[in-house]
Symmetry: D2
Subunit: 137 residues, 4 copies
């Protein structure tokens, strides 16, 4: 249930001279995915920041399975791993539309921090929000 998909169309600026999407840009796609997931679940990342928390990435990884090309419509599937409690962990799959071929998969881990950079425990409002979502049938 804590998953969501959004789409993005590859532009020239995403590609490199190999004729495929440059590998660093998949981490941008991951951000699009988790941002869309937050919005879908009713709590935008902008709001989390407004409440005094930032969620910097502590780890990111990506496996590149097949190249994405210019003008491809990518389907960015994001899910929140609710088993992780200390911070947040997201899993991603990037698929090509319309055939669904999987192009890449990856993960990011995030810590809860104050804007000044101090690591803090997961804020109560976020824990409650996740628990409420998990209970929704």
């Amino acid at each position: 249930m804590l998953r969501h998909a959004t789409t993005y169309r590859v532009i020239y600026g995403d590609t490199d001279q190999m004729g495929v999407v440059y590998y660093a840009n998949y981490l941008r796609f991951f951000e699009m995915g988790r941002s869309a997931l937050f919005r879908h679940l009713g709590l935008s990342y902008r709001e989390i920041e407004a409440r005094g928390y930032v969620l910097p990435v502590s780890e990111a990884s990506c496996r590149y399975l097949a190249p994405a090309h210019y003008d491809d419509v990518l389907r960015i599937e994001t899910s929140l791993d609710t088993s992780v409690r200390a911070g947040m962990k997201f899993d991603y799959a990037i698929r090509r539309e319309p055939d669904g071929l999987i192009l890449a998969s990856g993960q990011t881990r995030h810590a809860f921090m104050t804007p000044e950079g101090r690591v803090v425990r997961p804020p109560g409002f976020l824990r409650e929000w996740i628990e409420r979502l998990l209970e929704t049938p």
Copy 2:
């Protein structure tokens, strides 16, 4: 005298599938150029910010004369147009090393602002700094 040059080597991530540097990245090179100019003149942009001013770009333009390729060493020549008083204006030329072929030329204009986004007059310390540089034989 208020000019300076710095170099940058093109990476894969700067190119696009046409096999040349993507056009938006020249504006990154321009930033490298003016940042190096500030440092060369003894007043880093970081210090200007520390004194409570930001210099957002109000206009940018670029003419693309010949393409830059992967692994090219670019020479970014930046000069400060000291005839402009209301804000700051920089002129740029991007040349390929070692033959000096000009690849692009451009300009950026900047306003003086507070971090909150209010346009302000050029700060005295910056005016004095420029005048001192201009007087230096």
Copy 3:
């Protein structure tokens, strides 16, 4: 008639430490705009390339009127200036949704080239395509 609008939501990766969209990224938005215009008019840029032509940017300019922020939905309005015959020229306006505030305006000029980098005259199929669109009531 030869105009079109598309939207894009700003991600963290588009912003800089001033808390606004980094100036070079507007040129990415311009590309999204003209790419969407081509598709809307029934001739994707991908097809133009497939027919053996590329359209590298020869000039780009942008005026930054008000900053775009994280999570803003941008409306990218693109129009093709059909008075330009030698190459192609596009005009852009970036507006913030939903209030329509104009954030930036700009232009790009493009030459017709072979993939090998030789400048050529506008291909007949493209001229005919534009004329047909202009005649459509």
Copy 4:
């Protein structure tokens, strides 16, 4: 011995509104690092391509330990893991100059491919080149 370090100064365009370098950009730094390593070892990536091979990334990962800031000079340390035979694997450490604080570490794995996208065995010239380097006292 198969290691090398290069430096890069962070620009505004690398940062995001959290005031630190955006996480995807570390993968650009990794590319700068391995590209500098290749050149240092006497075989530029450009040459490998000229001989008909590309080395697309099959896996990338990064651990973010401390944030990099605007104007920081980063030291990108890259080493080639010569125990990996099927493709190539690089390890990276990003340190802040001049204090050497480690900001990030990561890895990339690469496959050998033809420009058409067919996976091939490591080319002889590259195996020999690595063996020669390993034997050099």
